[in-house]
Symmetry: C2
Subunit: 207 residues, 2 copies
């Protein structure tokens, strides 16, 4: 009887290893051969699943997004609704998330020099924004009553801040222990909530 291989699972497995190899060795040194070796496969076997390094990287980026979303959903299902802890799922607070964030940073570091990666980033970036927008809908009920421009600005501000925390914590981990990252995120969301409420009441009064 032929061995049954779960191809989707194997693709995810290779993408996950790629993420670790990039985080540990840098983007350029993460060759297909090195990723294959780290995953315990031959380069030929990896080529069976992916046509190029770029395809592996795209799969890894998508896997990270899927994972963040899965963690957000799990918290939602557990009835946990604290926006700070939900959004913390995207921050480098433990080893796994640090690796994921280090991978993003390594990827971002290549984007300005590589037209193909720029295109790839533009597409992943849109998915990423939609993920945050869904997060607002689920975990920040007040935001649904804000005028769209206010909600959009708050969304941009949160994404910008999370990206900044990621950059700071990955490059200077000693200065950014988990508690400091979470405290800064809490402050950011608190400030945005107050600002958006003020904007909303003003526009409601004017309407």
């Amino acid at each position: 009887m032929p061995k049954i291989v779960d191809h989707a699972k194997r693709r995810d497995e290779i993408a996950q290893v790629a993420c670790q190899v990039v985080a540990a060795h840098g983007f350029e040194h993460a060759t297909v051969a090195r990723i294959a070796r780290a995953a315990g496969y031959t380069t030929g076997m990896v080529a069976h699943y992916f046509d190029s390094k770029q395809e592996i990287i795209l799969a890894a980026l998508r896997l990270m997004l899927t994972r963040i979303e899965a963690r957000l959903t799990r918290r939602h299902e557990l009835g946990e609704d604290d926006l700070v802890s939900v959004l913390s799922e995207a921050l480098p607070l433990d080893e796994q998330r640090f690796t994921e964030c280090a991978f993003w940073m390594a990827f971002w570091g290549q984007v300005s020099a590589d037209r193909n990666l720029r295109r790839l980033n533009a597409c992943v970036h849109r998915e990423y924004m939609r993920l945050y927008a869904r997060c607002f809908v689920r975990h920040w009920p007040a935001s649904s009553s804000w005028p769209k421009p206010v909600r959009d600005q708050a969304l941009r501000s949160v994404v910008t801040f999370v990206n900044g925390l990621t950059a700071s914590a990955v490059t200077s981990p000693a200065d950014w222990p988990p508690a400091t990252q979470v405290a800064q995120l809490r402050l950011q969301l608190g400030m945005l909530g107050i600002w958006a409420k003020g904007r909303h009441s003003r526009s409601a009064a004017a309407g």
Copy 2:
């Protein structure tokens, strides 16, 4: 008569070219030979000024900091005191600043995979924080009356936000035109000012 060479100036010139080469070709492809060629020198000539690529990168990072500081000082001397426009000097709002920011991003992308770059970053990061602290003193007079923990948290928040804007604007320039970057920074500083004032009056009332 021997030709008089301004060595400091030539070092700066090579560091500046290194910044452009890294931004255009990525960190790994910015070899000493490539940087030398782009600067119009031989590799041997560059070796006369720098022992290693790492030394060139450090010089480039320092040059970026010096430039940001010079731009901040110039605005100060011109009597311009709007904190938003002062801090905008660190954002990728024009071609030169975009190149500088793309260079930082490329550097950050290597930090998690390279112990030496991590050390180098830790040292540059401290200089960067001090630069922002000086900027607060000069351009945000109210901040000097805040309790130190409030000032520290505001400082971290601004640096995080500027880093996040840098990451967003370098990787997705179409989504982050200059006006959007400045509007987000303005919102951030406005929110922090209100928050810090509230914290300050509460602690003054309690004292």
